[in-house]
């Protein structure tokens, strides 16, 4: 899952990035409102973390513009302004959540995870397909109650597919959710991850099917 951080302080942004990477998110950092507006429309982010004190545009303005352009990604406002009026204003202009600086790491993590779940319409933190379960909070995957050892990318691919069981996920979509702009991605990277996953799901896990020319789909029996 991919998250956008709009924050003008590079030190804070990189801290958040390190944190969310460790939590299994792929992260893009943007330091200006204009850029954020451009990119948010084209990338399927699971959540956007938006700082209000941006150098070019006011954060609230960015928020309104995003909603006006019908970007429905959940947005978490993170700001040093924390008066009641600021919070209410932010939420009323279309934000989904509000986090005042300075915040605690685990709170940020949990809130981003919660927003991502809500955005996908899967409120249960545990995704389940047949005998395969994926706990998005603890980042563990179990097949018949035996924990599977998965790499970060493999987990990300599986999470995306299990989020839409029985539905085709296009390669572009899958790539957009798993990789960020800075990842140097080989053309066949996705195939490699899917192949590895398939091996680990044998013998009694659900089957990941390749729909030629379209993408991948995890089967529901």
């Amino acid at each position: 899952m991919r998250v956008m951080i709009v924050e003008d302080d590079p030190r804070l942004a990189h801290g958040m990035e390190a944190l969310l990477n460790a939590a299994g998110f792929s992260v893009d950092i943007l330091s200006s409102g204009e850029e954020a507006l451009h990119i948010a429309e084209s990338v399927p982010y699971a959540a956007i973390i938006l700082d209000l004190g941006l150098p070019d545009l006011d954060g609230l303005e960015v928020l309104q513009q995003l909603r006006r352009r019908s970007v429905s990604t959940p947005i978490l406002i993170s700001t040093a302004r924390d008066s009641l009026a600021d919070r209410v204003d932010g939420l009323d202009k279309g934000a989904d959540d509000y986090l005042a600086k300075p915040f605690h790491l685990r709170e940020l993590e949990s809130r981003v995870r919660a927003l991502a779940r809500r955005g996908q319409g899967t409120p249960d933190p545990v995704l389940k397909v047949g005998s395969l379960t994926l706990d998005r909070s603890s980042r563990t995957v179990c097949l018949n109650e035996i924990t599977l050892e998965l790499r970060r990318r493999e987990l990300a691919v599986l999470e995306t597919l299990m989020g839409r069981p029985g539905k085709i996920v296009t390669k572009e979509r899958l790539a957009a959710e798993v990789f960020n702009f800075n990842d140097a991605v080989a053309p066949n990277a996705l195939e490699v991850y899917v192949a590895r996953l398939r091996r680990k799901l044998i013998p009694d896990g659900p089957v990941i099917r390749t729909v030629r020319g379209l993408g991948y789909m995890i089967e529901v029996k």
Partner: protein, 493 residues
């Protein structure tokens, strides 16, 4: 003294009024005394003459008239005493009423004492030694007069007339007397009534006046009520409201009060703004420190995340330190103990600052150049401590926001009655459209995010300059790039 305005006003009006009542009461009592004394004197004189004329009648008439006169006298109030002496012997009346001590039975002196007279009334009647008919006065030796004597040991007012009756060689002395205490009691009761009336009137006046003031002060108590209500349940912007009944005297108070409220609101608002900004400014470095401390905790100091975390924490702490320093120096600009108009040497102050800051500034890759138009001190008005603070801020800004390998020129000069210092850098400068805003507290330029800045530096510079009566301006650098900050002090006389 008197805390109640109503009591004060009542007192202020009532005390003079009471004095007037006392004066008026005194006059009234004096008039009563005079009138009462005169009318009883008249009565005594009248009585003595009646008796005296009756005695003066022909012997056959006399025997009838005298008892009648005595009887008439005894029936009227107040009851008087009378006596008739022929020579030294009592003929009739009370023995206690003796002739006056200077009475000489053989004497023929006429009017030894001046006869009693009374102020004329509007009707002037010609009198002959007290009688309308001159024949009545023919045999009078001493016309009726008044004296103060004793009657049975008590003081009394006595009227006396002496006649030498026809064919008689010995004078007959007629006297009528009244006790003084009767007269005094009468006067006293009259005066008591007057004084009682005065006190009653005074009391009614106090009561009326007090009520009148209460009524008159009602608009003020309505104002007090407004303030009291606002105290118990403070509204956001309290102002005293006027009503059609508000008197003109209260208007200036309302206007002044509301102006004061507005000023206080402004002050509170700017303080609120300041604390909001200051706390906002502190939160970002705090958020960075907390974030990276959490990362350190999670990944350990040897991980790549841990290593950058350490750097970022130290940077955040530096930011906080600088912010704190700036807040302290901002507080110092308004310190009252400093005289901001003393004379000091700008050159010495500037070189001191350079010496002091050189160690710190040498960590930046910047050339520092010092220039002075002419040798010698530049004496200006201000305060060396405040000026040093100001120069430090400008110098730090010029170095901090410069480009690597850039230079900063500190230039001192004088001219036009002013001593000036210019601090010029060749860094990115500030776009002209933003130059007005840089004076605001906590304003930070777009390019500043990488620097440890508080957004307070230039606002400190401005308030320091204002305090010393100096002017600050920002201009383009000499080569069109960079920024030149110029501070002009008034030259000391």
């Amino acid at each position: 003294m008197l805390r109640s305005l109503r009591a004060r006003l009542t007192g202020a009006v009532m005390l003079p009024l009471a004095a007037l009542v006392v004066i008026f009461g005194g006059i009234a009592c004096w008039v009563i005394f005079k009138t009462a004394s005169m009318s009883s004197d008249r009565m005594l004189i009248g009585s003595v003459r009646t008796l005296s004329v009756a005695l003066d009648a022909e012997p056959d008439m006399r025997s009838r008239l005298v008892p009648l006169a005595v009887q008439l006298q005894q029936r009227s109030q107040p009851i008087t005493f009378y006596s008739v002496h022929h020579g030294g012997a009592l003929v009739a009346g009370s023995a206690a009423l003796t002739p006056p001590p200077d009475y000489d039975p053989s004497g023929r002196v006429i009017d030894r004492h001046p006869p009693a007279t009374f102020p004329d009334t509007y009707r002037k009647t010609r009198l002959y030694r007290g009688y309308v008919d001159p024949k009545d006065a023919d045999t009078v030796l001493q016309a009726a007069y008044l004296w103060d004597g004793k009657l049975a040991g008590k003081s009394a007012r006595i009227a006396t007339e002496i006649r030498l009756l026809k064919g008689d060689r010995t004078p007959t002395i007629v006297q009528v007397a009244d006790y003084d205490d009767d007269r005094r009691a009468y006067i006293f009761s009259q005066c008591l009534q007057v004084i009682g009336g005065g006190i009653l009137i005074l009391m009614i006046a106090v009561l009326l006046f007090y009520e009148a003031i209460t009524w008159g002060l009602k608009p003020f108590s309505a104002l007090t009520e407004q303030v009291e209500k606002a105290r118990l349940d403070p509204p956001a912007h309290f102002r005293l409201a006027q009503s059609p009944e508000t008197p003109r005297e209260a208007m200036s108070f309302i206007v002044a009060f509301n102006a004061l409220m507005a000023r206080m609101e402004n002050a509170t608002e700017s303080l609120r703004q300041f604390t909001t900004n200051a706390s906002h400014q502190m939160r970002t470095p705090l958020a960075i420190a907390r974030m990276h401390l959490g990362l350190l905790d999670r990944f350990g100091p040897d991980s790549p995340q841990g290593r950058t975390a350490l750097q970022d924490i130290s940077h955040a702490v530096q930011s906080l330190e600088r912010l704190l320093q700036q807040l302290i120096s901002l507080a110092r600009t308004s310190e009252q103990a400093i005289d901001p108009a003393m004379s000091f040497d700008l050159v010495a102050t500037a070189t001191n600052v350079l010496d002091e800051r050189l160690g710190h500034l040498s960590t930046f890759d910047i050339d520092l150049i010092y220039e002075q138009d002419e040798e010698g001190a530049i004496a200006v008005k201000g305060h060396p401590l405040l000026a040093a603070e100001l120069i430090t801020n400008l110098l730090d800004n010029a170095v901090r926001y410069n480009r690597p390998g850039g230079s900063v020129v500190i230039r001192l000069g004088r001219g036009g009655g002013r001593g000036r210092i210019e601090i010029e850098d060749d860094g990115p400068g500030i776009p002209e459209e933003h130059r007005d805003r840089v004076w605001e507290r906590f304003y930070r330029g777009a390019a500043e995010n990488d620097q440890v800045g508080s957004g307070l530096g230039l606002s400190i510079v401005r308030s320091l300059a204002e305090r010393m009566g100096a002017s600050v301006s920002l201009n383009n650098g000499a080569n069109g790039c960079g920024l030149c900050a110029r501070v002009e002090f008034q030259e000391a006389a």
